[in-house]
Amino acid sequence: MFYRRKHLLAIEGLHPPEIGHLLELADSYVLLNRSGKTQRDLLRGRTLINLFFEDSTRTRTSFELAGKRLGADVINMSVSTSSVNKGETLLDTAATLNAMQCDLLVVRHNQSGAPNLLARKVDASVINAGDGTHEHPTQALLDALTIKRRKGRIEGLTVAICGDVLHSRVARSNIHLLTTMGSQVRVAGPPTLMPAEVAKFGVTVFHDMKEGLAGADIVMMLRLQKERMTSSLVPSEREYFRFWGLDAEKLAFAKPDALVMHPGPMNRGVEIDSAVADDPVRSVIKEQVEMGVAVRMAVLDTLSRGDGRNDA
């Protein structure tokens, strides 16, 4: 047992054996899922609450499926994102959940750090399912599992994370995970979509996509939100696609066997061309979704054991 924490709030700070353990366990769940067998007894009698303050289809469904496959009682709570999700409401929610004797609490919130706040106030194990522009740890784990199964390793690979890094929790979790596990990580995109001093994360920064992709083993695309146009960080979709959208021409700069990844949902024709997204050989986007369920099963399994855990 290498993972002894009570929660999974972030990738940052995890040690290689902890990540390695979660990936190995997840890998075993991939096989189990494919064989059609289930482990309905593992989380029997445990309560998993999906607490989503932000709209989500795939992540919530993925956690729900993972919980059910392990036999947990799964409850979905969608909280209106409109006006109420202020600090006080969040703590009120925490008090309510505590009273319900929840064991596993999966949280998505549009504010960075909201899961950390909840973790301090509830008895349950908290799993961050995406908080603001901070982290999305299970996404990084499922991406790592996808890479590891395809390439046989993570260490030593060159991974280019491309697009709106500034607003991406997926990018941050992936940068932490991949650098921890020994990949060479690059970020590529317009300077206006790069976090300040991002090089201090241990990545190399590129503003020219082709330079950023040159020789890469993995190309990870990020979603570009429409709001980036109205806030004038990029001028238009057509310009974005021309310079930072992944099409066959730019992908040709990566290694011939480079894999294309995207956390979804995709903006086709903005950050990725359909021909690339649907490429049966290069694109592993659908596989990422499958890995998501296995990774979340591994996380729920690990956190629910709680034997000899540290309160971290």
Binding site: P190, P191, P235, R238
Partner: protein, 424 residues
């Protein structure tokens, strides 16, 4: 095939070059230059005692009337004025109607320049859509289409946030942002530099500090973003001090000025002469002297015409409501040479400020005397005198702030890609 042209016994000045000798033009290129070249058969011989041959001038700031203000000036008319001024390359401002915020318009301007046969037009792209100062324009696509840098022209980029984003985004394309350095809120409604002169005339004032405030802010933003900023028509000593320090600190900061700011001061307004209404407004003489010093010590990177054509409907208005701007193409060289004649500026340095240095800022090919370079040339006589007269200037725009002046230094001929386009 084009006939050869041989300039004989002429003083040739270009960056790093200052020699007396011959220069041969063949097939539109500078084929050779040096001491006493042979005379090819059939070559046209140009011999002018005491004349100087330099690269065609590179004017990094001019407003053209096209598209949208053809009643003020057309590209064809600006090309005539430019050729008469020895200018063979010109960068034009994007705050036209429509603004140059679409790649197709950049192509259009480049093509129209080629069609003149005498003037290379290097378009600036708009920083913001419509030059309205709100949403960033498609800098990448504009750059690909041939925009040499980005500016909102005579409109300052007011929002600090927008300027930050633009500097940062343009950096990704290796492009410079050119700022009209004037705090627009502080300057709003003003018609002359604030001070005793404006007070006496009863004109609303613009504090000279409006320039330094914007320059200080943008230097700080260039530092924050790693971007490149260029300040147009610098006119105050305070701004120059800031720029000097920024350059010493190794920041990507450059600037130009225009002839009115080292040749005239606020007293030129006289009896409300609207030809002298400029933006930024003419300054006190101490600022004018600081601009001269900035030219001499290299703080200022280029001299641009800051040409802004106006027609009589624009200029026959009460001073405070008349639109600012002066015609400047035909007088660019002559006014600059004034600083050579009065001993403020060495001749070679003056020529560099009009040729090689702006060419480098724009990433343009011209501006140098080199074998194999396009034969864009300006032949002038440094001592010959002519009088500037509004109404008799080449081209359509007649609103010269130097009306009535006798200038020492006259363009004798201009060549574009080896073809004589002025002074035949």
């Amino acid at each position: 095939m084009m006939r050869d042209t041989l300039f004989t016994n002429v003083r040739m000045i270009g960056e790093g070059t200052d020699i007396q000798g011959d220069l041969l033009v063949r097939d539109g290129l500078i084929a050779d230059f040096g001491l006493a070249l042979g005379r090819p058969d059939g070559a046209e011989i140009i011999a002018e005692d005491g004349a100087i041959l330099c690269p065609g001038l590179v004017d990094m700031r001019a407003a053209l009337g096209e598209p949208g203000f053809e009643y003020r000036e057309t590209i064809a008319s600006a090309a005539v004025a430019a050729a008469a001024g020895g200018i063979t390359t010109l960068a034009c401002l994007p705050n036209t109607m429509p603004a140059i915020d679409d790649p197709a318009l950049v192509h259009m301007l480049r093509t129209k320049g080629e069609e003149t046969g005498s003037l290379t037009i290097l378009p600036y792209g708009a920083v913001t859509r419509g030059c309205r100062g709100e949403e960033m324009a498609e800098l990448g696509l504009l750059r690909e289409a041939g925009a040499v840098a980005f500016t909102d022209g005579s409109r300052a980029i007011a929002s600090s946030r927008l300027m930050r984003v633009a500097l940062s985004y343009a950096r990704g394309f290796g492009a410079r942002i050119i700022q009209h350095p004037e705090d627009p809120v502080l300057a709003a409604g003003g018609a002359a530099t604030e001070g005793d002169q404006a007070s006496r005339l009863g004109l609303p004032g613009i504090p000279a500090a409006a320039e330094a405030i914007m320059v200080a802010r943008d230097i700080r933003l260039a530092q924050l973003t790693g971007g490149s900023v260029h300040f147009a028509h610098i006119s105050t000593g305070e701004a120059l001090d800031l720029i000097r320090r920024a350059k010493d600190a190794g920041l990507n900061v450059t600037c130009d000025t225009a002839p009115p700011y080292f040749d005239l001061n606020e007293t030129a307004i006289g009896e409300f002469r609207t030809y002298q209404k400029l933006s930024p407004p003419l300054r006190k003489d101490e600022d004018r002297r600081a601009v001269v010093a900035g030219l001499a010590d290299g703080t200022i990177d280029a001299i641009a015409s800051d040409h802004r054509p106006r027609d009589t409907d624009d200029t026959r208005l009460p001073y405070a409501v008349a639109p600012p701007g002066g015609a400047g193409l035909a007088t660019l060289l002559g006014i600059t040479l004034g600083q050579v004649h009065n001993g403020n500026l060495p001749l070679a340095q003056a020529i560099d400020l009009l040729t090689a240095r702006p060419a480098r800022l724009l990433g343009a090919k011209g501006g140098h005397l080199a074998k194999g370079a396009p034969a864009d040339l300006c032949l002038f006589h440094p001592d010959r005198i002519w009088k500037v007269e509004a109404g008799k200037l080449p081209g359509k725009a007649q609103n010269t702030p130097f009306d009535g002046r006798a200038l020492e230094g006259k363009v004798l001929g201009t060549w574009k890609a080896g073809r004589r386009v002025f002074g035949a």
